[in-house]
């Protein structure tokens, strides 16, 4: 809409959640409202800050990992909970459970007998025209007849106090993880109130659900299938996998043989019995569904039809989410359940009839027009929804033509102003429009509802800003109870005996690959940080032309310049770029963002503390931003801090990680990278002649953190042979190549022991042979005396270490790449 056309219309005021008609605070809100009003503004602000810090420390994000920003968008939470009175909740509970049963019955009918269509309750177009009506699954009944294992609805309260369904999800349900995380944070921030108000807990709901779904399946592992770290809700996938004790996997981790699904693990193929699915149905099998999907598992549909795996939810549920179906829900409830619909949808009319078209035209000024099958949240980024009154004359003409030609592809819906939730700031309450997402899950006793949910308040008063994607604020939902509050937590031990064991489930190979690269990138960032720190320091000390010319040479070895340069200006610009330029290849910010991305991909394998150390180390605002002018002092502070955080991460790995596969691969990555760096460093230091040898050797010792060790042995006499011994051959120095190679060999021996016979043998033999090159008789004399011999040795070493990295990849992460074939050539 052009700006001059109409003033922005204020939404009419909706139901006030906090106060009744007389302005009194409603009963259920009283304890909370009184408590926060009594609180000093500073105290409330403090709690708000604590909550934001908890969210950020826990890495709660939403939205795609943004390459340019370098970080994912933080999850937005307003700490003031959204309270729903118990009697109100009882109505919602009954209504949402009914909706979940209806969604399941609809899916069963649509993929089964299609009675609703045959008997005229439902126009066939609403099923057959839906792009997510998955034809290969027609006639298939999933185990137990359960199609919809988990279900959600977005509810809005209308002016008369009743609820309406704005949208529902029956395919890949999202938001539960965020609701749990909100609860963890808000429960801590308002711990006292939480206990006083006897708020119902969320966790019990899950255990029953997970057990029930598992009981539908045979023996085998339960996994959570995620689209991967680029998905906007990846945080939630990692969180839920951890919470429910599921292995977090991506499509590539799974393979189908003989109509069975297997997980590719470090120790071979492991059969999968249950897939908790967070990948949209049509992306799940590139063979029979969307061929362009890289997220799925080829052949999955055959395993599904053979009933060798249970998918939760079953495939194809989107078809019951469509706005077009909303127009027929009353009839469907009657026909399938024999019940009146308890919570109706927002008033919807399908435009595939003459009457529907007339209605759409007559409501044009005060309604919404929307694709009949577009179940994206209203007004989210790619939503097709349009306000009739926003249409230009040309758009109105086009719309009328579309109604005439293909009315069946449109619906018209009423604008429903949602109720207003309180926001507390500066000692007073203001209100913003709110919707509440409520979750139901299938258990052996039928559907259960999570006693809470995810409330979302819009930043402004427009009805267009309530979708998650548009960045609405979220709120925890509190249901106070008069009865006893369960204290059940999933983190508590189960009653059954647990056999003592020292190893976990065999981890997915891809996860190990990520950890290996996490080790490599984090060490690479550390090495670059140390190197730059030394250069900045020396440059700052001024000194003669010799130093500058050495530093220029040295920096050119870090970033090969097109033309060799030897001037102060070049040195400065290049240093600045390496420290602060997010766009410069191989700059520190780039490297750190790679560290974080890799860690993010392995998020479910890292403890919260480990993640936090990485988070600190890679925080983008730790380094000066590209445009900012900064001097040596600031640069040094930043680099110091980076090196310290990196040491914290390394220390964390050393002290707190079990010596299982996670640690083994992270450490292997670190050892390999450090060996490469040391070989490079020694080569650079010895190749340059710009500076006195003792000065150069001191620089090498500084960068490699070996100054103290060297001095304790040789005092202040700097000579080549002792340095080569300390940095290359001495296996007691944790900063020597020999130490790295011995450590790598030990890790590989351990991996060989815990993986199937023969799988890791070649890598062990390779590592052993490489380590032995540092023990050769007379090697020190040879390389210390002859620069040619030294450089040949370093070259062999670098090649050898690169080869070791390949050997590890060959043994443990050979993920064969999948390609799609077909339809390459057509003729006539």
């Amino acid at each position: 809409m052009s700006s001059e056309k109409k003033p922005v219309e204020r939404r009419q005021r909706g139901y006030d959640e906090l106060r009744d008609e007389s302005g009194e605070v409603r009963e259920a809100w009283k304890p909370l409202a009184e408590a926060v009003v009594k609180m000093s503004p500073a105290e409330y602000a403090r709690r708000h800050d604590v909550a934001q810090r908890l969210l950020s420390d826990n890495g709660v994000t939403y939205n795609v990992y943004d390459e340019n920003e370098g970080h994912a968008r933080r999850w937005r939470l307003d700490i003031l909970p959204f309270v729903l009175a118990p009697e109100e909740w009882a109505k919602i509970e009954a209504g949402v459970i009914q909706r979940a049963r209806l969604a399941n019955a609809l899916a069963a009918d649509i993929y089964g007998p299609q009675r609703l269509i045959m008997e005229g309750y439902l126009p066939p177009h609403i099923v057959y025209g839906h792009p997510q009506f998955l034809r290969p699954l027609v006639g298939f009944e999933p185990p137990g007849g359960v199609f919809v294992h988990s279900y959600s609805v977005d509810l809005a309260r209308v002016a008369d106090g009743s609820w309406k369904v704005m949208a529902s999800r029956a395919d890949a349900v999202s938001g539960i993880g965020y609701a749990l995380e909100n609860r963890i944070v808000v429960g801590q921030v308002f711990a006292d109130l939480f206990a006083d108000m006897r708020v119902q807990r969320l966790a019990e709901f899950f255990q029953a659900h997970r057990e029930a779904v598992q009981s539908l399946a045979g023996q085998g592992r339960a996994v959570l299938l995620s689209p991967g770290p680029h998905n906007e809700a990846y945080f939630e996938h990692a969180f839920l996998a951890h919470y429910l004790d599921l292995t977090l996997v991506e499509g590539d981790d799974l393979v189908v043989h003989d109509d069975r699904v297997y997980l590719k693990t470090l120790r071979g193929l492991d059969q999968v019995a249950v897939i908790f699915r967070r990948v949209d149905s049509d992306f799940c099998d590139p063979l029979e569904l969307r061929g362009d999907s890289a997220l799925g598992v080829p052949g999955l549909l055959q395993a599904v039809r053979a009933k060798n795996v249970v998918l939760a939810n079953a495939l194809g549920g989107s078809v019951v989410e469509s706005p077009a179906l909303d127009a027929y829900m009353h009839g469907a409830a009657e026909a399938l359940l024999g019940e009146e619909l308890l919570i109706p949808d927002i008033p919807t009319i399908w435009c595939g009839t003459e009457w529907g078209r007339e209605e759409a035209l007559s409501r044009l000024e005060h309604g919404i027009l929307r694709g009949a099958f577009d179940s994206r949240p209203l007004f989210s980024r790619r939503s097709s929804a349009k306000l009739g009154r926003d249409l230009t004359p040309a758009e109105t003409i086009a719309l009328k033509a579309r109604l005439e030609r293909r009315g069946a592809t449109l619906v018209t819906q009423d604008i429903v102003p949602p109720g207003d939730a309180p926001i507390f700031a500066d000692g007073t309450f203001t209100t913003k429009p709110v919707t509440v997402r409520v979750f139901a899950a299938w258990t052996k006793n039928g559907y259960q509802i999570m006693p809470g949910g995810l409330a979302r308040v819009s930043d402004d008063d427009s009805i267009k800003s309530l979708s998650l994607q548009s960045g609405a604020l979220s709120k925890d939902v509190w249901i106070p109870t008069t009865g006893p509050v369960s204290t059940f937590s999933l983190l508590r031990q189960t009653k059954e005996d647990v056999a003592v064991q020292r190893t976990g489930n065999s981890p997915p190979s891809r996860a190990m690959d990520n950890l290996f690269w996490l080790g490599r990138y984090s060490e690479r960032a550390d090495n670059l940080g140390r190197t730059l720190r030394t250069i900045v320091q020396r440059r700052g000390e001024g000194g003669d032309g010799a130093m500058q010319s050495f530093l220029c040479d040295f920096l050119q070895a870090v970033v090969p310049a097109k033309l060799p340069r030897n001037d102060a200006q070049w040195l400065l610009t290049t240093l600045r770029a390496l420290i602060a330029d997010r766009a410069a290849p191989d700059s520190l910010p780039q490297l750190l963002s790679r560290v974080r991305r890799t860690a993010w991909s392995a998020r479910d394998r890292l403890s919260l503390e480990t993640w936090q150390t990485i988070y600190l180390m890679t925080e983008p605002d730790m380094l000066p931003s590209s445009g900012q002018i900064f001097g040596s002092a600031e640069a040094l502070t930043c680099l110091d801090r980076l090196v310290r955080h990196s040491a914290a991460f390394a220390g964390h790995c050393a002290e707190n990680m079990t010596r299982g596969p996670n640690w083994l691969f992270t450490d292997l990555g670190r050892r390999i990278e450090r060996s490469l760096h040391l070989a490079w460093l020694v080569g650079q230091i010895t190749a340059s002649a710009a500076l006195s040898e003792s000065e150069r050797l001191r620089i090498a010792l500084e960068i490699s953190s070996s100054v103290m060790t060297y001095r304790s042995r040789y005092l202040n006499a700097y000579h080549l042979a002792p340095l080569l011994d300390l940095l290359l051959l001495d296996d007691s120095n944790p900063r020597s190549v020999a130490f790295q190679l011995a450590a790598a060999e030990r890790s590989l021996e351990e991996l060989e022991r815990i993986t199937p016979k023969g799988q890791g043998t070649a890598a062990v033999l390779y590592a052993r042979a490489l380590r032995k090159t540092t023990e050769q008789e007379g090697i020190l004399a040879e390389i210390a005396d002859s620069p040619t011999a030294l450089s040949a040795h370093l070259e062999r070493l670098s090649a050898g270490v690169a080869g070791l990295s390949d050997a590890i990849t060959d043994a443990y992460f050979r993920h064969a790449i999948r390609h799609r074939t077909g339809g390459e050539k057509r003729e006539d």
């Binding site: 066939p124 055959q302 009839t353 030609r405 057509r826 006539d828």
Partner: protein, 295 residues
């Protein structure tokens, strides 16, 4: 007319493929105008698993998995079919096309319910308003649906240049419509999109065509190729097949393999391979009339 049809596809991979799985729509189906006397698929190497299904549209679909390493995959379909001539259409059935649209909107009978499948957008076909405008030149108010469809077929044949170099198997119809060129698949997609944009049901048919040899020359085996056209639903006639590439109603010389909403529903052979790297594909189709003597 009786034919022997052989459709041979060979994939040659640069590196070994360690395993692969495929979906084939390579065996001809029965239709009201076509009998299938015999049809089989031959593979090399032999799959670990072959599953023959009838898909949602009633086509014969084969799913197969190869679990041994291989550098070449060959799949051949061999069949004998008998086709009948194109049905002659009763002029009384050439009813105003708007009536057909109304009937499809109600969709109360078995046949209209089924036809309603093909009113909507499908993976490769999004019907845009400009395609409706294009169709309306043929579909003038009150015009009979069959004559309008024949006219649309002629216009697509005339307006779209046959060119094998400008599109690939997954080119969306918007692009074809814009560049006004493509192969038989693209021309069929354009016609389908135009019909759906008006609210009519149209489906995609894949199959084979007997190409006539130049006079006096023997038929070149292998010169024949896989083909595609579209079918339109009309009351009383059911599905009527039109071939925009050859500007004709499909008849005795058209052998139907499979039909669906668009090419993606009936891709002759597609798959997902593990390993393999680059590959080249060779496709050969022979359509040989079975004469009294050779039968």
């Amino acid at each position: 007319m009786e034919y022997f049809v052989r459709h041979r596809t060979a994939y040659r991979y640069v590196q070994d493929v360690s395993s692969s799985c495929h979906v084939a729509h390579l065996l001809p189906r029965e239709t009201p105008h076509q009998k299938v006397l015999q049809a089989e698929l031959l593979f090399a190497p032999q799959p670990a698993l072959v599953r023959r299904l009838v898909d949602y549209f009633g086509n014969i679909q084969n799913l197969f998995t190869i679990e041994e390493a291989h550098a070449v995959l060959e799949v051949s379909s061999e069949s004998r079919v008998v086709t009948g001539p194109a049905p002659s259409l009763d002029p009384a059935l050439d009813v105003p096309w708007e009536d057909v649209r109304a009937e499809l909107e109600t969709a109360r009978e078995d046949d209209t319910r089924d036809a309603a499948q093909y009113l909507f957008d499908s993976p490769l076909i999004t019907a845009l308003p400009e395609m409706a405008d294009y169709a309306e030149i043929s579909f003038t108010p009150g015009r009979g649906i069959l004559s309008a469809a024949a006219d649309l077929t002629t216009r697509v044949h005339r307006d779209f240049r046959y060119d094998t170099t400008v599109t690939d198997a997954y080119t969306p119809v918007e692009k074809v419509f814009r560049i006004r060129a493509g192969v038989c698949q693209d021309l069929a997609h354009v016609a389908i999109a135009a019909l759906r944009a008006l609210g009519l049901s149209a489906r995609y048919v894949s199959g084979y065509l007997l190409t006539s040899p130049p006079p006096g020359q023997p038929r070149l085996v292998g010169a024949d190729a896989s083909h595609a056209w579209f079918a339109l639903w009309a009351p009383g006639c059911g599905w009527v097949d039109f071939d925009p590439t050859n500007n004709m109603q499909a008849g005795e010389s058209h052998i139907t393999a499979a039909w669906g909403r668009d090419y993606s529903d009936v891709t002759p052979l597609s798959g997902v391979i593990t390993g393999g790297g680059e590959h080249i594909v060779e496709v050969g189709v022979d359509v040989v009339p079975v004469t009294e003597e050779s039968a």
